[in-house]
């Protein structure tokens, strides 16, 4: 019975391939005035496989923008272009224009070390260093020489942990290994580590996908607080999460940016057929 019904549905609707073929440009509002990051015609290749097709997207200052889409749609790849983490993959090639303020991220003379100090990143799986909690947060400021003495460093570590909402939980055991914390705490430690070097943009690659609902709620709250000072780009699999934390949402499908718009609008009244199908859960 069930099988039959599903088959009928597919026959009734146009196939995804068909829709994608007809798709020529991003619908919605991908551009804004004076963006923090501007992507223009970005293509990414892994060897001969094109992972991202001609993506143009502006990321506004002090906004949280969520990148959503089914698995393998290129949202993580796009995110990793923004701080050149893709450089670590030998076969990865990026073309097009990516601007941070007015600096070209992929310019020859753009130093990836400097770029990554300005564009921090939080990864899918919490990855604290196998060192103490204190050392985890102090590492970034130390290598960049941000503080002049121990007292300043202590203050910076405390401040970062406080901003990440972790200080009260760990203040008595800053010497304990970072890996001894729970998953959610580890992820907040990673966020504290990222904000310790005061970046301008924070990239988050599914930061809550490995966490339980309570830890997830804490991370989301934290993202909301961080918005005051940072521009945040977050990749997420959870549409509810995108709806809760972001102001704008970008929907990717098979390497193409299908639709960008206010989060409310995307989730209540999407313009594009694929977006609608995705958020109503008919594939993904």
């Amino acid at each position: 019975m069930n099988t039959q019904k599903m088959t009928n549905n597919v026959i009734k609707e146009r196939s995804i391939e068909q829709i994608l073929e007809e798709h020529t440009h991003t619908v919605g509002k991908p551009f804004c005035e004076n963006p923090k990051i501007r992507a223009k015609g970005v293509d990414v290749f892994y060897d001969d496989n094109q992972a991202i097709h001609d993506v143009s997207l502006d990321i506004d200052r002090n906004e949280v923008i969520a990148l959503i889409g089914p698995s393998g749609c290129g949202k993580s790849t796009f995110l990793r272009c923004l701080n050149r983490m893709n450089d670590t993959i030998d076969i990865c090639r990026v073309s097009g224009e990516l601007l941070l303020d007015s600096y070209n991220i992929y310019a020859k003379n753009q130093d990836p070390v400097l770029l990554r100090a300005r564009v921090g990143m939080v990864f899918q799986k919490p990855n604290p260093f196998p060192k103490s909690i204190y050392e985890n947060v102090a590492y970034g400021p130390k290598i960049h020489g941000l503080t002049n003495n121990k007292a300043e460093l202590d203050y910076l570590v405390e401040d970062s942990l406080t901003k990440a909402g972790l200080f009260n939980e760990v203040k008595d055991r800053l010497d304990a290994p970072g890996t001894s914390l729970s998953g959610g705490q580890q992820q907040r430690l990673c966020i504290a580590r990222t904000i310790s070097i005061q970046p301008e943009v924070i990239l988050m690659d599914e930061p809550a996908s490995a966490l339980d609902p309570i830890a997830t709620a804490k991370i989301e709250e934290l993202i909301n607080d961080l918005r005051q000072n940072y521009t945040i780009v977050i990749v997420t699999h959870s549409m509810q999460q995108a709806a809760r934390v972001s102001q704008r949402t970008a929907y990717f499908h098979l390497g193409k940016l299908i639709e960008v718009g206010e989060t409310d609008k995307i989730f209540t009244n999407p313009e594009h057929e694929l977006t609608e199908r995705y958020i109503t859960g008919r594939f993904g």
């Binding site: 701080n83 670590t88 070390v113 799986k125 290598i143």
Partner: protein, 434 residues
């Protein structure tokens, strides 16, 4: 259709699984049992080997000594209590010992019988006496009783390796000498003591004087040179190949050659050492420095391969964490990847070192097989190493060297166990969990 009747089908599945369970468990049992038997056999052989060596080695740790009354007559020795060390060195202590023996056995006459009498004590006994006097010149002019090393044949007889009740023609010690020994024995002048000589002296042609210290020091110097050369070079090579090297044909070629190098017979490295380091660079022969260089060439591929796999096993998330914070490649490698890989690198290094410690063939080619009595004082002194000492002693015809060979093997095994324990300790110390 097969899924038409679900209920029936489920019963079928349960039945089928049940039927196959027995077979599956049997397979598991057979596998477990064969694994256990393999371990038991391996363990049994190890026990047999070790206990055989230990039993054979035990007599080497005991030394037979003959206690004799020495008359350090100042006139006969031509010494006074104020004589210098050089004068004492030249004095004839052999005569003192022979006089003591003659005094004990006044009935011995005739050339052959006297020869038997004098050969009761070791050739080294006079040096033993000389050293006692050198240490304390006040003894000159006095009488004292000294426990002198017994000759190796006497030693063997006392330890029972030469049997007393076989016919004289088949016995190494003839009846006359045997009567002398038994006279000393009944007099309580023969004693068995712990063999310190074995641990404090170098090699000798006389089993009762031969010691392992020269070879131990040679091995330590050689291993130190090997470690100092191969560890930094191998680790640097591994880090470069794993983290920095571009992916191209040249690097592939280098990789293949490193793997090939690990398979080169070790004696080839010895030939290389002879041709390059001794003949071309004129480094000293038989010296630990050359041995160390040759062995480090041999251990390099082992350490490189182990280090590379340790570096490869560091989770990429750790690299990403550091890179994402703006650490440079170099900082990422040395602050995070290297410490995380260190336990594996150390394990590989110790395995390489243990391999080098037991290596004989390449050292034969560079002259470390020479008979060296002096204990080496530096890396350029002629020396030999433990496995070669085993080889040399195993090759000696004297009975006393049989037990020495086993004892040297025990010392070598002791060394290896110690190095492995250090490896385990270091690994546990640097191991971190994430």
């Amino acid at each position: 259709m097969w899924y038409a009747n679900t209920e029936n089908n489920m019963i079928n599945t349960t039945q089928k699984v049940k039927n196959s369970l027995k077979k599956r468990y049997l397979k598991e049992k057979i596998f477990k049992a064969s694994g256990f038997i393999s371990i038991a056999i391996a363990f049994l052989f190890l026990i047999i080997l070790l206990s055989d060596i230990t039993i054979k080695a035990l007599p080497a740790f005991i030394q037979t000594q003959i206690e004799l009354e020495m008359d350090l007559n100042a006139e006969e020795l031509g010494l006074t209590q104020t004589s210098s060390a050089n004068e004492i060195k030249k004095a004839d202590f052999r005569k003192t010992i022979r006089d003591a023996l003659k005094k004990q056995f006044p009935q011995v006459t005739g050339r052959n019988n006297k020869k038997d009498l004098y050969s009761l004590v070791s050739i080294g006994a006079e040096y033993q006496l000389r050293d006692i006097v050198m240490e304390n010149p006040q003894l000159i002019g006095s009488k004292l009783s000294v426990k002198l090393y017994a000759d190796d044949d006497v030693d063997s007889l006392i330890k029972g390796t030469i049997e007393r009740n076989v016919p004289e023609s088949e016995r190494r010690i003839k009846n006359y000498k045997l009567s002398l020994i038994e006279a000393l024995e009944s007099n309580g002048q023969i004693s068995k003591n712990f063999n310190w000589t074995f641990f404090t002296s170098g090699d000798s042609r006389e089993p009762e004087l031969a010691g392992i210290k020269g070879a131990v020091m040679g091995s330590i110097y050689t291993i130190l040179i090997t470690l100092m050369l191969s560890f930094p070079v191998a680790v640097a090579a591994a880090i470069y190949l794993e983290e920095f090297a571009p992916k191209n044909r040249f690097i592939d070629f280098v990789e293949i050659n490193i793997n090939n190098l690990a398979a080169v017979p070790s004696i080839v490295f010895g030939l290389l050492g002879l041709a390059v380091f001794i003949n071309f660079f004129s480094l000293p022969r038989s010296a630990p420095v050359v041995g160390g260089i040759v062995l480090s060439l041999m251990t390099l591929p082992t350490i490189i391969i182990a280090s590379r796999s340790a570096i490869k096993a560091v989770p990429p998330s750790l690299r990403e964490a550091a890179l994402g914070l703006g650490a440079s490649k170099m900082q990422t490698v040395f602050h995070h990847v290297f410490p995380a890989a260190l336990p594996g690198i150390l394990t590989g290094t110790i395995i390489g070192m243990a391999q080098a410690l037991g290596e004989t063939a390449p050292l034969l080619m560079i002259g470390m097989v020479a008979f060296i009595v002096d204990i080496p004082q530096s890396v350029t002194d002629p020396a030999t190493v433990l496995p070669i000492q085993v080889y040399l002693w195993a090759d000696s015809p004297e009975r006393g060297f049989l037990e020495k060979t086993s004892a040297a093997i025990l010392v070598l095994i002791g060394f290896l166990i110690m190095m492995n324990m250090i490896a385990i300790y270091l690994r546990n110390k640097f191991e971190k969990k994430w």
